[in-house]
């Protein structure tokens, strides 16, 4: 027995909505409401309405803790548009119940009218629940996806990838399979089959009451099918691409961020290295360079003037022998040689002086050298020579 008028309860819900919303959030989060948590809420809001909550059968006591009664939890879900997503496995159960009811209706179409009417009613109810469950899930999944996109929880990219993958793998893809009209086993497909059957029965069934029920069911089925199609489109056209993109982008960003942590260690993709290609040995370039380098050393090069060749002094022995013979006898050969060269060339060059010594070995002269005597000095342009005094006399008949 509820100890209050319905209007009182509704007024209570309205007056204490904030407190109730806090309690709803706690249950949504953790599945139950711990006594301490409840007292905390009452303290924060400065209201203690525990007795009313129990009297109006809004909360149920579970040992020391509490939980919302299902009716009120669903009411809050509905008015706040905050649904707990149902696992597709849970939604899948409708396929069985709808299938069983439909089979019984078809098999017992000529049987008891009363039970047939009940079954049609129940089928209607099951389809309604299924359709609502799908809609709630889509709404919830869209909200989750958008939240993930705007990243209100400041998740890092790796966490985002995991979350997106979680929603895709456990909720969105299976839900899509349930709704996929092209999938032979999908519930949507089953509903189409039912819809076709009901369409015929609403026109040709002999009992008017049942015919009207079929008619109602048919109208409802047409609307449900439209709704489900819309949900399915929402899933495939908006939700799936959106969350797939979040996942792909997060994967790529995770990769880049990990790479940026140590960019020099990562193995990067290969990029072609442009090189010049030679139709001959790869070493040819180095060999040629080495060869050419030998000529690159900067050395001073002297080029001999070709005219110098004609100026080269040639010792004319006959000429100097004649000159010598005219001067005989001489006291000192080298003095004579020095004087002669100086007279002709202004300077005495060593090689010319030495060339003249060849005259000492000519016939027709006699040589006399006193090695004890002091040597005399002759300065040539290149050096100083200390030479002995060599006396020369004419010798023989010439």
């Amino acid at each position: 027995m509820i100890k209050a008028e319905p209007k009182t309860i509704l007024n209570f819900l309205s007056n204490y909505f904030e407190v109730l919303k806090d309690i709803f959030d706690v249950q949504k989060e953790s599945g139950q409401i711990r006594k301490e948590k409840l007292n905390e809420i009452f303290k924060d809001r400065d209201e203690n309405v525990l007795q009313q909550l129990l009297d109006y059968k809004i909360l149920k006591k579970l040992g020391d803790d509490f939980e919302f009664r299902d009716t009120y939890f669903k009411l809050f879900e509905f008015i706040l548009n905050e649904f707990r997503p149902l696992l597709p496995e849970t939604i899948q159960k409708y396929e069985r119940s709808i299938g069983v009811l439909f089979k019984k209706i078809r098999d017992g179409i000529n049987g008891d009218k009363l039970i047939l009417g009940q079954r049609i009613l129940d089928l209607h109810g099951e389809i309604k629940e299924f359709s609502e469950a799908v809609e709630k899930n889509t709404i919830r999944l869209l909200a989750e996806t958008r939240e993930l996109k705007s990243n209100v929880d400041k998740l890092d990219y790796m966490e985002k990838v995991r979350k997106a993958s979680f929603w895709i793998d456990y909720y969105i893809t299976p839900l899509n399979n349930i709704l996929d009209i092209n999938h032979a086993e999908s519930i949507t497909n089953k509903l189409f089959e039912i819809s076709n059957y009901v369409n015929i029965r609403r026109l040709n069934f002999d009992d008017e009451l049942i015919r009207l029920q079929f008619e109602k069911l048919y109208v409802f089925l047409v609307q449900s099918n439209d709704d489900l199609l819309r949900q399915s489109k929402l899933l495939t056209n908006e939700l799936l691409p959106l969350i797939e993109r979040i996942r792909t982008e997060s994967v790529i960003l995770t990769g880049f961020i990990e790479f940026l942590k140590a960019p020099h260690k990562a193995k990067v993709p290969k990029v072609f290295k442009v090189e010049r290609q030679y139709p001959y040995s790869n070493d040819m370039y180095l060999n040629a360079r080495e060869f050419v380098q030998q000529f690159l050393q900067d050395e001073t090069i002297f080029l001999e003037d070709p005219n110098a060749l004609s100026d080269k002094w040639v010792f004319n022995k006959d000429l100097y022998k004649e000159k010598l013979m005219q001067q005989l006898p001489l006291d000192s050969f080298f003095d004579w040689a020095g004087l002669t060269l100086r007279g002709e060339y202004q300077t005495i060059e060593t090689d010319k002086l030495f060339a003249l010594t060849a005259l000492l070995f000519e016939d027709g002269i006699s040589i006399e050298v006193d090695l004890k005597q002091e040597r005399s000095l002759i300065r040539t342009s290149q050096m100083n020579l200390r030479v002995p005094k060599i006396k020369i006399n004419r010798y023989g008949i010439s």
């Binding site: 995991r162 990067v268 290295k273």
Partner: protein, 181 residues
């Protein structure tokens, strides 16, 4: 012996390190004669031909690793900054035209300033413009005047690299996650 159409251009582009893009008429000839070119590059130079649905390029044993690293850095920082700016970076890379000034903004205010300043190709507006010219020579970007550019499908090489890199990390960090991305 008859050679495929655009043979000379195909060989000189690929040997010049260019990506040949599906939008290029040479690409059809390259794709139609994929078996020939695969053998041709392998036998003549020991290079591998990589042919994807919308671009093709060649690879040698010795690769331009530094350039590749610079390109990865460039993409990584650009994508990160685009995302931070609230953009769908993948769409931007695929379809948007970039202005150097905007890119400068991103790089100059990036949290990765250290990496940027230590990289000769990326450290200044001027060096980034040179870098984009380098990428243009390889058909990774297409320049639109001196101020704007956009990416060609060759960007995928580097985006795929990031995805593979992440896959590795994700698998290593959570072995329970068996999904293939």
């Amino acid at each position: 012996m008859e050679f495929p159409r655009y043979h000379k251009e195909i060989v000189s582009d690929l040997m010049g390190g260019k990506f040949i893009l599906a939008s290029d008429q040479k690409f059809i000839s390259l794709k139609d004669n994929a078996a020939f070119y695969e053998k041709f590059f392998k036998e003549s130079f020991g290079y591998e031909l990589e042919l994807k649905s919308d671009y093709g390029f060649i690879l040698s044993y010795e690769t331009g690793e530094q350039l590749s690293r610079d390109i990865c850095l460039f993409f990584a920082i650009l994508c990160y900054e685009l995302d931070k700016d609230g953009k769908n970076f993948l769409e931007e890379i695929q379809y948007a035209e970039f202005e150097h000034e905007k890119v400068d903004d991103y790089f100059e205010n990036s949290a990765y300033a250290d990496l940027i300043n230590n990289n000769n190709q990326l450290k200044s507006g001027e060096s980034r413009r040179d870098f984009i010219r380098t990428l243009a020579r390889r058909n990774i970007v297409e320049r639109n005047g001196d101020q704007k550019f956009f990416f060609t499908p060759a960007y995928k090489v580097f985006i795929d690299f990031a995805a593979d890199f992440a896959k590795d990390r994700l698998q290593n960090s959570e072995p329970a996650l068996e999904e293939e991305y």
